[in-house]
Structure formats: C-alpha cells, structure tokens
Amino acid sequence: SAPAGNEDEIRIGVNYELSGGVASYGQSSVDGIELAIKQINEAGGVDGKKITLVKYDNKSEPAEATTLANKLMTQDNVVAVIGPATSGAFKSQIPVAEQNKIPVASGSATADDVTVDASGVKEYAFRICFSDSYQGTAMANFALNNLSKEKAVVIMDSSSDYGKGLADNFIKTFEEGGGTIVAHESYVSKDTDFNAILTSIRGQDFDVIFIPGYYEEAGLIINQARAQGIDVPIIGADGFDSPELVNLAGADALNDVYFSNHYSSLDKDPIVVQFIEDFKKEYDREPDAFNALGYDVAKFVVDGISRAEKLDGESVKEALESTTNFEGVTGSFSIDENHNAIKAIKVIELQNGVQESVITAGQ
C-alpha cells in the first residue's frame, strides 16, 4: 500500500517538536540534522544513495509523536527515525519502534529510563546525550569536590522531565556526599520573573545554586540573582549551552557559572571548529547544544546505516549497537549495552560571560 522507497534513496524519519511548547528545542535539533544530511549528500550520500528526510511536526505532544512514528514506519518506509527532542515524546514512540523493528535515536532525550527500564533494554531505542543521572551526579560531585561547596539551593524547572531528572539525581548525590540542600525552589518553563524566589533565598545561608533547566530561564535567573546581590557560584547542565545565555544573563552577571557540556568552543578539536564554522555559514548564528546534538545524532544514524548489512531496520539497529569511538562534535563516544552513549563530560567555567576553562570529568 505504501509507496516503496525509491531504489537510490534512503529515507530517514524526522519526528520533532516544531510547534507547541518546546518548539525551540525541536527546531534547533532539526537545523543541526538538516545541516548534517546536507553535508552527507553533498559528499555523495551513502553508497551512492542520497539520504531523504521525511520530516513531521509532533506539536510537542507525545500522542502525536506516537501517531507520526506509526506513519513514518508503516507508510513512509523509513529505515530509522530521529527524534523527538524531549524524553516524554521519545519514550512514547519506542513501543511503535519495537513493533515495527525500526531503530529510533534522539539527540536530547535525557531521562534515565529512555533506553532502559525495569523491564530491560529497549532494543530499538538509542540516544547520544548524557542521561540525567549521569549529569546530575557529575554536577553534584563537581560542586562537592571541585568547588568544595556543601550548602546548595536548587531552583528547578518543574515543568520539564529534564529539570526533574537532573534535580533528583543532583540532590541524591549531593546529600550522600555530605552536602545539604538549603532550599528547593521551582519555576515553570517560560517564566521570566524569578525575583520572588531569589529574594526569599537571599536571606538564607548557602554557597552554591544548582539550576536544572534550560538557558532560556537560567540566563534570566542568573541575571536577576546577580542584580539582587547573590554572588555564589551557579552551576547547571548542558541545558545552559547556548550563545544566548550571555545575552540573557548579561556578561557582567556571568561570573562563577559552571555547567556540564559535551563540547566547548574553546575546544581546538578540528571537528568542533569545522562544525561551528559550517553552522555559522548555513544559519548565520552560533550553534547551541541542540544544534550540535541534532547534527551528531543524524551523523550517528547515517553512520549506522552505512555499516548495516542490509537496508532494513533490524540491520541498522545492529549496526548502531556496535558503534564504537564515533567522532562527533559533542565528543567521541561508543554505544554501551544500555544503548547510551559513553562520553566524557566537560565542565565549562564562565567568567565575565566568556569561557574561562574546561574541566574534563570522565567516566
């Protein structure tokens, strides 16, 4: 019934949040993906076959993501699906992937149980970003050990699974390591005014703030915190990574800010340098984490396809499983038995709005 794939093209599904609440993450990821595929096709594609993207908008709704996954896998005959960006939507397409035996990969679904849960490994699900527990734990250790802080305030994005996942893991590790959580505040995505929270913590005794959330709000929190005279170190995770962070917070406010990331623009790694240059040329702006992760996940999937024995979902899945030392913009990684990417965390220090140093924390 469905149109059979053209002989000299390879179809990959793109199932992203292009509208709705988290459209900005979806759109950024897709920018990265499209750049990667463009480059691959310009370089001749895979075995002479061009890659075609079949792109849909899941409206930031998990049910829509499920429906579209069905469409991609049963009607559009894709060999793999990239996306969605958020864990919830990604999870809800995994059962469809397992049914149709088509691998799905996300660049940014960070929840722990995305690829593996109590019932075992999700055979067809892959991701190339850090998991929440990995990053949350790393940042708790960083605060305890590298910064020697033990009284933390957590200001969490309670509306995203990312924020919640990071916060839970950070708190657990931080407390186990002897630290105390002085206050646990929360906000919701798209908030702009954090003064009330900041005023209320201002009177308390703490020496570090952890903000599990994205740069849109984190930038404003940092700005408003510094304006209210709160000058303790502020730490976060890869959600901070965006060229907009400095504009949102203001360079003067971006002092003593640390966040974990996959790569750093200080990195002189030629892959990174090349990516930043290409991206700027294509889109006329600096890339952020979603751009880079989108770029990598596309390359990662194509790499799998190119190594697959046959052009079907099962073979591609097997090829993806055996990925080792993949050289991406977001670091070099291998896929472990839980279908997670094993890669080093880099902690970036910001002073006066610029990257001051990079600390590599490994696994």
Binding site: S19, G21, A23, S24, G26, Q27, S28, S158, E185, S186, Y187, V188, K190, D191, T192, D193, N195, A196, I197, T199, S200, R202, G203, E216, G219, L220, N223, A227, Q228, G229, E244, N247, L248, G250
Partner: protein, 294 residues
C-alpha cells in the same frame, strides 16, 4: 522586613505587567464581549518590533516604544477588520474560536520568520541601566519606568472611557450596537478605535517587558496573557480599575507564594484564590452583580 519590602517591589513590578495587559483585554471585552486571545500575541509582536528597532536600527528606548505602539495599533485595527468584523452577528463563542485562530496565526507566523528561539534585547545604557539601592532593597530604573508608565496609561484610559465622547460611544456600542447606531454613533470606527487603543497598550507592554526581562520569543504572550486575562476577570471584566487591581493582586499573590510558600504551587494558589473570589463575587471584585431584570 527587608525581604518583605523587596518582595513588595517584586510584586508591584510583576503586577504592573499583568495590569498593563489586562487593560487591553478589559477594553476589548468591554466593547464586544470578546476574550481577545490575540491580545497576548500583539504584545509579543510589540516586543519584537521594539527589539528590531533597538538592535537593528539602533533606536533609543522612547522612539522604539512609540513605533511599537503605533505598529501594534495598526495590527489591532487590521485584525479586527479582517477577522472579527465579519463575525459581528455571530455567536460570541465562534468569535472566540476565531480569536484563537488569529492568536495561533500570529504566534506561528512570527515563529516562521524569526524561529522559536529566544532573542535578547540589547543591554540598556544610561538612565535605564541604573539601580537604586536602599539597604538591601534593590529597585531598578526599569522597574520604576514600568510601574509609572502603567499607572499613567491606566489613568489616561479611565479618563477616555469615562469622560470623553468616544468613551461614551464605546460604552453605548458595548451594550447595543443597533441602538448606538441610532444615536448617530459610528459603530465600526468606535470598535476599531477600541482595538487600536488596546493594542497600543499591548505594544507598550511588549517593549517594556523586553527591556526589563531582556528575553523575548514567539510564544512569550501565552502565559502572561492568560494571567492578565485572569487578572481582568478577577477585577471584574470590562472595568478598567478592576483590571488594574486584578493585575496587582495576581502579581502580589504570585510573589508571596513563591517567596514565602511553596513555589511549586504558585499558579495553583493564584487559580484557587481566583475561584474563591468568583464564588463570593460572581462578577469579579468590582463587577456589579446585576441580575437581569425580568
């Protein structure tokens, strides 16, 4: 004590933003009984116009504010003409759906051109960058500006609606369009005027918020829009001082809950209080509970 004073400053600032937007909702609602969902998006457009004025054309704050207000006025009038006027005699709920359509159109139309990513206003310099410190209490010039512009605009509005001819016409049109026409009132231009005025306020709010928070995106109107609308209802929709009180009230509750209670339940408390107030006063704080005469 200092903490409380600072929280009051926070609350007044936040409340001003809600109040400024609520005024626009209330005016439009007052005249055509429409919850103008697109109002929040006109606010967003205002913020973007201000952004482009400042960062691409290098204009100062005041010229940017005026240009944004002007463009939003036009936009408001055009929207009314194209989308709402054909529905003059339709049920209110179908106009509401149209308004939702217009709102989505503005959001995603903007997103198409500028992407979903946040943009940041250029940093303010000079007077607008100053802050005043009194002990531990910090007040920025931007906050003072925001609050004073809001109050001036609201007094102006109240004056227009209560005492001028056009204000009288607005109130007549809101009650009975045919009868207003029979008084010699030009109904179409009165409605256009109201939309224009409301949209100008939204535009002003957009720029002020852009300057103050420094962060704008195509969906930025949704949440404050909803809250501003709630503020308008809280105060008694259609009543200008009501919108003002509602705005400040919601600002204050949010700040107090976030500051002294559990920030997770901030919005829930706001809604809870709203429902309680409505149960006690079914047409809002200042609304007259007039039952239809039989």
């Amino acid at each position: 004590m200092e903490g409380l004073l600072q929280q009051i400053v926070n609350g007044i600032t936040l409340g001003s933003i809600y109040a400024l937007m609520a005024l626009g909702y209330t005016m439009v609602y007052g005249i055509i009984r429409l919850i103008n969902f697109a109002h929040a998006d006109i606010y967003m457009i205002g913020a973007y116009v201000g952004y482009y004025c400042m960062s691409f054309f290098g204009l100062g704050f005041l010229p940017s504010l005026i240009i944004a207000m002007f463009i939003c006025t036009l936009l408001g009038i055009i929207i009314e003409k194209i989308a709402y006027r054909p529905l003059r005699n339709a049920t209110r709920i179908s106009v509401l759906i149209t308004a939702i359509g217009v709102s989505l159109f503005l959001e995603y139309g903007t997103m198409f051109f500028v992407t979903a990513n946040v943009r940041t206003y250029p940093e303010m310099t000079g007077l607008l960058a100053r802050t005043i410190k009194m002990g531990n209490i910090v007040i920025s010039m931007q906050q003072i500006l925001l609050v004073s512009i809001t109050i001036v605009l609201m007094i102006l509005l109240q004056f227009i609606v209560k005492t001028t001819r056009i204000g009288k016409a607005m109130r007549a049109v809101s009650m009975d369009k045919d009868a207003a026409e029979l008084m010699g009132i030009n109904v179409d231009s009165t409605i256009s005027f109201t939309f224009g005025l409301g949209s100008a306020l939204a535009g002003a709010a957009g720029v002020l918020v852009g300057v103050y928070y420094n962060s704008i995106n195509p969906l930025m109107g949704m949440v404050p829009g909803l809250k501003a609308f709630i503020a308008a209802v809280f105060g008694g929709i259609g009543i200008i001082p009501g919108a003002m009180i509602g705005g400040y009230f919601i600002g204050a509750v949010e700040v107090l809950v976030a500051g002294y209670g559990n920030s997770m339940y901030r919005d829930a408390v706001v809604f809870g209080i709203l429902i309680l107030v409505l149960i006690v006063k079914p047409s809002g704080l200042l609304g007259k509970n007039t039952r239809e005469k039989v």
